[in-house]
């Protein structure tokens, strides 16, 4: 059986989906987290259910991308049952959509999620009455606590065609609908005819297109339809009912029905929000307090990341680098030739060990912490705080959300830009996302900061520096947005409303552990597929000599001038170039390149970085420039591919490549110049 999960944004569809299928769709406590539908299977009593998770939407008007997707999925013939997930805390608004879905299909089951949570705050929902009024099965569940699933699937499996409640729109419109329906009856259509008639009356373009498509080889029928339509519209106009009036009446009747249903089936003891939540929001979104809290939270997160990752990092590097010799010895015993051992151990294994020991720990700590903030519901509040700043750049306030996602992975941030409706603002969000240091670059920046800016054990200072770097990154992404919106993507910002979700206790067991595991595994996987071959390749290039110079030396020499101009050197520049497949390997590759020149072997963690880098002429200026270049340089291959996929254009993909690169070269050069002038 094919099942679709539909509903308002942030009602827990993805949570339900994950709980059922065991898949790992990302979930978060904010509207618009899911932008792509996902598919999974669930077995109940040996029966297979294919479940599709659809992005949430407030209505089925098909005006924006998510709504169009939702409408298409729900009306699809292959779907055996649509499970409408409703949030018990905002049941009336949720029923608005449920009623619209009931109009579109008769195979509906309503799920009331968070019913127990709502009861605690004084909203009592009478399921039996609800079921009788709606005339479709209604089930109480709690997706987070995995309650009510067996009942839900009992109902899904034994689903019998129902005739859900119909919203009536008054004599005039009903009359018009009947007339159009009559004509549509002779056309072979897959969507509910009443639904089509209503949308045609509203003059919904997409629906006209749909009807046109299905009458392609029967122009007489189409002609007849338009004739009847004209007649009906004329008739309505005579009574003083314009197109706008039709639209308004339809919408009003739906929400009035939702209101009536709720007044019967739901009792509220207290409809106001608790003072605690109100106070929290006053603080989190206040003019000054909002920013103070935001910076404070970030510094705490950075502090924990720094302290935690140091410990893990030391342990891992100890373990990994000490086993290097053992592996070499083992390979010698097996009888592999010398160059082979060299290549795999000093090439592949060493880069791999570097990535795991130095890059992995910060990610493994930062990401779960970030997930906690997301799960609590803090992200939409950040978006609100930064809204004004983004508005000043003529960008959308929702860009703050994609920026936040960029900290995890730029590709995710780029895909997430779909929540922005305006194409212009979406492009800005996509093109500027790579300015945000993602999980692959973040540890490298962190490493450089610990080595050059916060000597010793002073983690408070280190996290302050890190905070500064992050602020610079966000700020440059805003400047880039400003430049874009005043040159190639001119326009005025559109307004937006963003739902402020309830604060929820984060699901430590579920999400945090899952994000830790999935992140760690993902990085490990990338480490294996990218850094190991890269290490092997690098070793080969380092050991092939042409005219007394290694192949790499030629490349490094070639980039030396531009590297020097930017306060770096050719080696680092080359490392950045080699890091295109994955930014995680940039620093390890640079280490390897250096060590081959100076015959210094980096066989320990962060401690050796300091000696190695300074022996190769690194100073404060180099470090600052390197950090800047980490923020602003070409996006990794995955990000570029995602940009290509999202924009469908080579031109924009190229711009996504060029914009941060030019920024990086310019900023680094200026920084270098400034340092030269001062020192």
């Amino acid at each position: 059986m094919n099942i679709v999960l539909a509903g308002n944004p942030n009602v827990g569809k993805s949570t339900l989906f994950n709980a059922l299928t065991g898949l790992k769709q990302h979930t978060g406590n904010w509207s618009g987290k899911t932008v792509d539908s996902a598919c999974g299977t669930y077995f109940h009593n040996n029966k297979k259910f294919v479940i599709t998770d659809v992005p949430g939407s407030y209505s089925l008007k098909a005006k924006s991308h998510d709504e169009a997707v939702a409408r298409m999925m729900i009306s699809s013939e292959d779907v055996d049952c649509v499970v409408v997930v409703c949030d018990a805390n905002a049941i009336e608004r949720n029923f608005n959509l449920a009623l619209q879905i009931c109009e579109l299909t008769s195979r509906v089951i309503i799920c009331v999620n968070f019913a127990d949570e709502a009861e605690r705050t004084g909203t009592k929902i009478n399921i039996d009455i609800l079921e009788r009024i709606m005339n479709v099965p209604v089930v109480r569940i709690n997706a987070r606590k995995k309650r009510g699933f067996s009942e839900l699937f009992e109902r899904v499996a034994n689903y019998d065609k129902a005739s859900p409640i119909k919203v009536s729109y008054g004599y005039d419109i009903e009359n018009a609908v009947r007339k159009i329906e009559k004509v549509l009856n002779s056309i072979k259509l897959n969507i509910n005819l009443r639904y089509i008639s209503l949308r045609l009356l509203e003059n919904d373009n997409e629906m006209w297109e749909y009807v046109k498509e299905h009458t392609e080889n029967n122009s007489i029928l189409y002609q007849k339809l338009t004739d009847v339509y004209e007649e009906v519209i004329k008739c309505l106009r005579c009574k003083g009912i314009s197109h706008d009036e039709i639209r308004e009446r339809i919408a009003l009747n739906i929400s009035a029905t939702a209101c009536r249903i709720c007044s019967v089936a739901v009792s509220f003891s207290d409809r106001t929000f608790s003072t605690k939540e109100k106070l929290a929001d006053k603080i989190f979104t206040g003019k000054i307090t909002g920013f103070v809290v935001m910076l404070l939270l970030l510094s705490v997160v950075f502090y924990i990341t720094l302290s935690g990752s140091n410990v893990i990092s030391e342990f891992l590097s100890e373990m990994l680098f000490s086993s290097e010799n053992k592996i070499a010895l083992f390979m010698e015993k097996v009888g592999l030739p010398d160059f082979c051992i060299e290549m795999f151990v000093h090439g592949g294994y060493r880069v791999l060990a570097w990535v795991i020991a130095v890059m992995l720990p910060p990610m493994a700590i930062f990401f779960p912490l970030f997930t906690i903030l997301e799960d609590v519901g803090y992200l939409p509040r950040i978006a609100f705080n930064l809204d004004r700043a983004f508005k000043k750049c003529n960008a959308c306030g929702k860009q703050a959300l994609t920026t936040c996602m960029g900290f995890g992975c730029n590709a995710v941030g780029i895909t997430g830009s779909r929540i922005i409706n305006s194409p212009r603002e979406r492009l800005i969000a996509i093109l500027t996302n790579s300015f945000i240091p993602c999980n692959g670059r973040f540890p490298a920046i962190l490493c450089l900061i610990t080595v050059f800016f916060a000597s010793g054990e002073n983690r408070v200072i280190a996290s302050m520096w890190l905070l500064l770097v992050i602020i610079i990154a966000v700020f440059t992404s805003m400047i880039a947005s400003y430049i874009l919106s005043h040159t190639v993507l001119k326009g005025i910002p559109s307004s937006f409303a963003l739902e402020l979700p309830r604060f929820r206790k984060p699901q430590f067991g579920e999400i945090v552990v899952r994000s830790l595991l999935s992140r760690t595994l993902k990085v490990l996987w990338r480490a294996i597929v990218v850094s190991f071959p890269a290490g092997v390749l690098l070793w080969i290039v380092l050991n092939i000599t042409i005219a007394d110079k290694t192949l790499v030396a030629y490349v490094v020499n070639f980039f030396e001038p531009i590297g020097k101009m930017m306060g770096l050197d050719g080696t680092v520049f080359t490392a950045f170039l080699l890091g295109i497949p994955a930014n995680e390997i940039v620093l390890p590759v640079a280490m390897m390149l250096y060590s081959s020149g100076a015959c210094l072997i980096p066989d320990a963690g962060i401690a050796s970085v300091s000696t190695l880098l300074s022996s190769n002429g690194w100073n404060l200026c180099t470090a600052v420039c390197a950090v800047m270049f980490f923020i602003m340089h070409w996006p990794c291959a995955t990000s570029l591919l995602t940009v290509k996929k999202e924009t469908g254009s080579i031109k924009w993909t190229f711009l996504a490549f060029a914009l941060p690169t030019l920024f990086g070269i310019a900023v680094c050069s200026v920084v270098n110049l400034l340092f030269c002038m001062i020192l």
């Binding site: 608004r93 608005n96 929001d281 409303a497 739902e499």
Partner: protein
């Protein structure tokens, strides 16, 4: 008057949504924000305000707030 002039924590009834942007109108509608409905401003901010409509809380920006006429 416009919603931007409303007093915090006081319930108002929406008189009209003053906008030419059909999409915006439809969006506000789907949130339950249309004439005849109750709306409460929880707090005003420089960039907009936080409002509570029915059971939901939303942050809306200044332009939107100015388009909502309450009485």
């Amino acid at each position: 008057m416009k919603l931007t002039e409303a007093i915090e924590e006081k319930e108002y009834i929406i008189k009209k949504i003053d906008t030419d942007d059909e999409e915006l109108d439809a969006f506000l509608f789907s949130l339950g924000c249309y004439s005849g409905e109750a709306i409460t401003v929880i707090s005003h901010l420089k960039s907009g305000c936080i409002v509570s409509i029915k059971d939901g809380r939303y942050n809306i920006d200044k332009e939107l707030a100015e388009a909502i006429i309450v009485g």
